[in-house]
């Protein structure tokens, strides 16, 4: 800073910064990287350090209820995790809940988006109504479905189904995973709908009109022009949706507590139980590591796919 001799009236800091790029390639590199550093360091400290700690914990026997019990146990925690039927069940539930929720929400979202893409009387009002489930607290959504919709005696679902002979069916305890998926689908459909709607509205109307003039049917236009255009939006929705739904905790905590037994527990809920109710730090940590490895394998495949289209699009732009 002291090298900035006789700066005019400008602040020396600014003068130094703007001069930097001209000095050397290395300085330019750092000037470019500098704005990135705070965010990068923050993310490293808040996400990667704890993860490293998780790896360390996973090699130790450590129960918070027995503070003296700490010891290095090698891979024993991992052996325990892989032979834990409840863990494997929770893993299966996680895959089932995430996949079914994302797929169904996306299909419903596409349907709603197609309906809302037309211009019609009150479109703004209907869209406003339809996005509401995405904005409502997920904890509240779970309570709403459990105590108002799926309630056996007074619930709306059984009331609507009563002509079909459904009387006091207890959805949440009889079909816990299904009930959770219904609540999650309801919550995530507007998110998918918004993405697909954005895709539909960014369509090139010239191409659509040209196809119409050429005598293409509505179905042909949808399959050959609209769907390919929507692909990136759908992929993004599936990716973001999966990332969030895989971590679902609140819905299960509020609706089923993972029950009955551990029938509807997913991985976040099961690890929570082991950590905060069982206080078994070592095993919880091992589960966390296993979950991460599993997620990375799935995510890498998915991300590669997304990034390919993502980066191609960017190259096409420049």
């Amino acid at each position: 800073m002291s090298t900035a001799t006789a700066p005019p009236s400008e602040a020396p800091v600014k003068a130094a910064r703007s001069a930097r790029p001209t000095r050397s390639g290395r300085a330019t590199g750092w000037a470019r990287r500098a704005p990135l550093l705070p965010a990068l360091v923050f993310m490293l400290v808040v996400t990667q350090l704890p993860f490293l700690a998780t790896v360390v914990y996973s090699l130790r026997s450590w129960n918070l209820l027995r503070p003296d019990s700490q010891a290095w146990v090698g891979l024993a925690n991992y052996a325990a995790v892989f032979t834990d039927r409840q863990f494997l069940g929770a893993a299966a539930n996680t895959v089932l809940v995430t996949a079914s929720c994302v797929v169904v929400a996306m299909l419903l979202g596409i349907g709603l988006a197609l309906l809302l893409d037309r211009r019609f009387w009150g479109r703004g009002v209907v869209r406003t109504l339809v996005i509401t489930p995405f904005l409502v607290l997920p904890v509240a959504t779970a309570l709403l479905w459990k105590h108002i919709m799926f309630e056996p005696v007074f619930g709306l679902v059984n009331f609507v189904l009563s002509p079909l002979g459904v009387d006091t069916f207890d959805w949440v305890s009889q079909m816990p995973v299904f009930s959770v998926v219904v609540a999650l689908v309801w919550q995530w459909t507007p998110f998918m709908m918004l993405l697909v709607l954005a895709g539909l509205q960014s369509q090139n109307t010239d191409a659509l009109e040209a196809a119409q003039v050429d005598g293409a049917s509505k179905r042909q236009i949808f399959v050959w022009i609209t769907l390919p255009h929507l692909r990136r939006y759908i992929e993004l929705g599936v990716l973001l949706g999966s990332v969030y739904v895989v971590n679902t905790f609140d819905t299960i905590y509020m609706m089923t507590q993972g029950g009955p037994g551990t029938a509807s527990a997913n991985l976040p809920f099961y690890v929570y139980q082991r950590t905060f109710l069982g206080f078994d730090i070592g095993q919880s940590a091992a589960m966390g590591v296993v979950v991460v490895v599993g997620t990375i394998i799935v995510a890498m495949l998915a991300l590669r796919l997304i990034f390919r289209t993502f980066m191609n699009a960017q190259e096409a732009r420049s």
Partner: protein, 296 residues
């Protein structure tokens, strides 16, 4: 907003102002009316749980759980009064702090990072972006144990600022990703011109880019706010009486008061209202923000 097409601004376009593109005669118009009615029915059906919830919040407790359900009744505000009487405001305050502070922090950290990744592409941009997105893939369960232990050591349990830090980390990846695509939208010529005039990087960011990107920044902030306000896992595990947020309030509400459906509905309405209203008023930004990542 960059001057949207005139038709797009007014969503409630009356039938008379329809574009002349649709001129296929009476059958299409009748079909259009049917489709409109269908859209309304499906939309109302989809949102009916919320509508019913709001209705229930205005009921007396004995009208809330009846078979068949009660549709007509004398509305009352008593349930809302009870919720407010149950110390709702401190939770609201904590949620407001956690949401606003973390969103602000996300923007402070995310704007320069997104800028670096867009306008002046760092070598291996893709790697850095990939890193940011991949942290989003890191399941919370993989980090919660050490975070809990660390927070306990630092006496940061039950502290709202712990939530601020965690929510910032939770939202930063997606914010960087979105902001980067908004930065890509700013014409390079404008930035060049500003630099030629001798403006330094902070100046270019603050006086040139930020005003252009205001709608995009609003969209990013909105999405961060939704996710922070709604976050439950960290809130329920790392806070107790002092720093608990609104979602935690709802859990405590049931266990301490027993289950009263009307009262619960009123609590749910009040807990969700701030974000629902913000989301409604800014839905255009929401669409923009969500779709940017797909386009750019």
């Amino acid at each position: 907003m960059t001057a949207p097409a005139p038709g797009r601004t007014a969503d409630t376009v009356s039938a008379t102002t329809r574009t002349p593109r649709i001129r296929r005669g009476a059958t299409t118009r009748a079909g259009g009316t049917v489709l409109t009615a269908l859209t309304w029915v499906i939309g109302l059906l989809f949102v009916s749980p919320v509508l019913w919830l709001v209705l229930t919040a205005f009921k007396e407790e004995n009208q809330a759980a009846t078979d068949p359900p009660t549709l007509f009744f004398q509305p009352t505000l008593d349930r809302f009064a009870t919720v407010l009487g149950a110390d709702f405001l401190p939770y609201l305050g904590n949620s407001a702090i956690a949401t606003l502070a973390s969103t602000l922090l996300v923007l402070v950290l995310g704007l320069p990072a997104a800028y670096a990744l867009s306008v002046a592409p760092v070598k291996r941009t893709q790697d850095v972006l990939f890193f940011f997105i991949s942290t989003k893939m890191l399941p919370v369960v993989a980090v919660v144990v050490p975070i809990y232990v660390a927070a306990a050591h630092l006496s940061m349990l039950d502290n709202v600022w712990t939530l601020v830090v965690l929510y910032t980390a939770m939202n930063l990846p997606i914010a960087v990703w979105m902001l980067r695509s908004f930065f890509l939208e700013v014409p390079a010529a404008i930035v060049e011109a500003a630099r030629m005039e001798g403006a330094g990087l902070p100046r270019v960011l603050w006086s040139v880019m930020v005003p252009i990107m205001a709608p995009g920044i609003a969209a990013t902030a909105l999405i961060c706010m939704i996710f922070s306000w709604n976050e439950f896992f960290f809130a329920v595990n790392l806070t107790a009486a002092q720093a608990a947020t609104v979602p935690v309030f709802l859990t405590g509400f049931i266990t301490s008061e027993g289950l009263f459906v009307a009262q619960l509905s009123a609590a749910v309405v009040m807990a969700s209202l701030p974000i629902v209203v913000i989301g409604w008023t800014a839905q255009r930004q929401l669409v923009r923000g969500l779709s940017m990542g797909a386009v750019k």
